[in-house]
């Protein structure tokens, strides 16, 4: 019986300093110099890709390198007659991309370029009788979509348009015996979904449903000897979980329960010293998804060169402040 823990070994050749300028170059060239194959393969999530890139650029003070007008035009074209927003022009609307679009527009303070009333109606139409949300008209239910729906509506100041109590009831029904949350009632606890559920409860002010000590312990158990965090027991560490686990711990007021220095070392080791950008694990290929989560994690860990990020929305804190939003957080 193997007793070895699933983890990675950090070698001394991996980066130890934050390569800020390289990351700005990586994001701004993404999609321009990128080989065409990768660009068209990611069209189905383009809107989220833009959100990751813009948030990363804003957190490191390089937003002006992105062509704002072009992006606003693009978002406008992606809104469907029904009000929802798709990943790209001509793609069907989906809650994931609707939230990404609203996050981008909030950052640019340009919510009025889309039809907000229809967008709200679209989100509202996806709520089910049990309080859950479908991602689109084909009806896949997942706690991710509960988060998308309330995050999106709260950014628009329209949270009262849905049945919040029912929505909370569904999320709480996905809580497991270990204190964590899964995608649906009975599904295994998973750090990404814990983040979504805590974010949802934080926005709606219902964190009292959570056993913060029990869940906080489960979350800090995700830290492995390498310093990296995994998303479930016996899985490998991954930079994106640095964000989901850390943001969850911050919402619970228990961020200091993980060992900061070793996590910083792990995240820095996931930078690509040549191209810039972060990958899931040291030595793998970087992408915008792991880049934003690597930067956001370092921000939560107190890296002064990166602007503060809001743990609930994964958006720059100053944007959340400007909108007057105060998602609930616990303190010890």
């Amino acid at each position: 019986m193997a007793t070895l823990m699933k983890d990675i070994i950090l070698s001394s050749s991996h980066p130890k300093e934050l390569l800020l300028q390289k990351h700005a170059d990586f994001i701004s060239s993404y999609g321009v110099n990128k080989d065409e194959y990768e660009y068209c393969m990611t069209e189905y999530l383009r809107m989220s890709g833009v959100y990751w890139g813009l948030t990363a650029m804003e957190l490191i003070g390089n937003l002006e390198r992105i062509n704002k007008q072009e992006i606003l035009e693009f978002i406008k074209l992606c809104q469907d007659d029904a009000g929802g927003i798709g990943a790209s022009v001509g793609h069907d609307p989906h809650l994931l991309y609707t939230l990404s679009a609203v996050q981008i527009l909030s950052m640019y303070d340009a919510l009025d370029i889309v039809n907000v009333d229809r967008l709200v109606q679209y989100v509202k139409s996806l709520q089910q009788p049990d309080g859950s949300f479908c991602g689109d008209k084909w009806g896949e239910v997942d706690t991710r979509f509960s988060f998308c729906a309330v995050a999106c509506l709260s950014l628009l100041g329209k949270l009262e348009e849905i049945d919040v109590e029912k929505a909370v009831e569904f999320v709480v029904s996905c809580m497991n015996f270990d204190g964590g949350f899964g995608s649906r009632p009975g599904s295994e606890s998973h750090a990404g979904l814990i983040y979504c559920c805590l974010g949802m409860l934080s926005i709606t002010g219902h964190l009292h449903y959570v056993d913060a000590d029990l869940l906080g312990w489960w979350l800090c158990e995700r830290q492995l000897p390498s310093g990296g965090l995994n998303g479930r027991p016996e899985k490998l560490p991954d930079v994106c979980y640095s964000w989901w686990v850390l943001a969850s711990l911050r919402i619970l007021g228990r961020l200091h329960w993980i060992r900061r220095e070793s996590l910083v070392t792990f995240v820095l080791a996931c930078q690509d010293p040549e191209t810039g950008g972060f990958s899931d694990r040291p030595g793998d290929l970087p992408d915008p998804f792991h880049t934003i989560f690597g930067l956001a994690a370092l921000s939560l860990l107190g890296e002064p060169a990166i602007k503060p990020v809001n743990p609930t929305y994964c958006m720059p804190q100053h944007v959340v402040d400007r909108l007057g939003l105060r998602p609930q957080k616990l303190t010890l």
């Binding site: 007793t3 068209c40 069209e43 990943a87 084909w138 649906r184 009975g186 295994e188 016996e234 616990l330």
Partner: protein, 337 residues
Amino acid sequence: MAEADSSSEELYDETNWVLYKYRVDWKDVTPVPQDDGPYPIVAIVYSEKFQDIYDYFRAVLKSSEKSERALQLTKDALDLNPANYTVWQYRREILKHLNKDLIPELQYVKEMIEDNPKNYQVWHHRRIIVEWLQDPAYELSLTETILSQDSKNYHAWQHRQWIIRTFKLFQNELQYVNQLLDEDVRNNSAWNQRYFVINNTTGFKPDVVQQELMFTLDKIKTVSNNESAWNYLRGVLLHHDGGISQDQNVRQVCEELYSSGNRSPFLLAFLVDMCEENMERDDGDKEESLRRALQLCDVLANEYDTIRREYWNYMARSLAQRMDCPEREATGSTKTD
């Protein structure tokens, strides 16, 4: 099945691939080029095959063509990019419109799942086809195939739970869970499934609780440093009248492990929780329980689980505080910012 399933990939293999724009049976369609999103200002040079297929896909989408050839086209488009949810949605609309036999579709999506087991869209398509058919016959074996390659695949477990719950297929599931735990006793997904099955069948009645405690303690005795088993043990004890500290068997196994020199952080953490509960009981030795809990937190913080030192220090502080003012139930965990 084979006939309906042949994609044009098989008709035109890689070397003989004929672009849609050169196919006689597509002469009547005008391709719709990609409207580029942000970032690329210059038109992107897609791979010719990719561009050709998606230009024609956009054309049928635009004209709402729901035909056999359009169905074929979605297959070619999905071969190139199975994550494109718009293509899947359109494929379903065509299937509905043509009133297609769905059994071949099950075979097709099975192959797609085997090639892309971590893709949301393929699993969702599977679920919708099963819903349309109202037939769960192939689902348990499909998920077993996928789980035999990756025993923690979240999509496969989600699909399996949905099938089992919807079509009441709980009967042999514990057996399957046992088999997985025999293969890997640290498989958290399998432990979660165990809870799911019991919770939805017998429930955690006193005799079931006893049976589950014995099962779990047995696994812990073989491999004690196993987060999943200890979490499950706590989960079962949520249904025990005596909480986590009053079950004779549980106490005995834990104390024996400790006396034998076992210092697994999960064992020590469990002992801390037992002490904590004893501190709150009227018949217990409060002072002794606190003393032991603090000693355990100390060795956890400084020796056996140093990476989580802050957590153990917090536990120690909050236990000591509670002893001072016992009316304070929780330890500040409900304060809101």
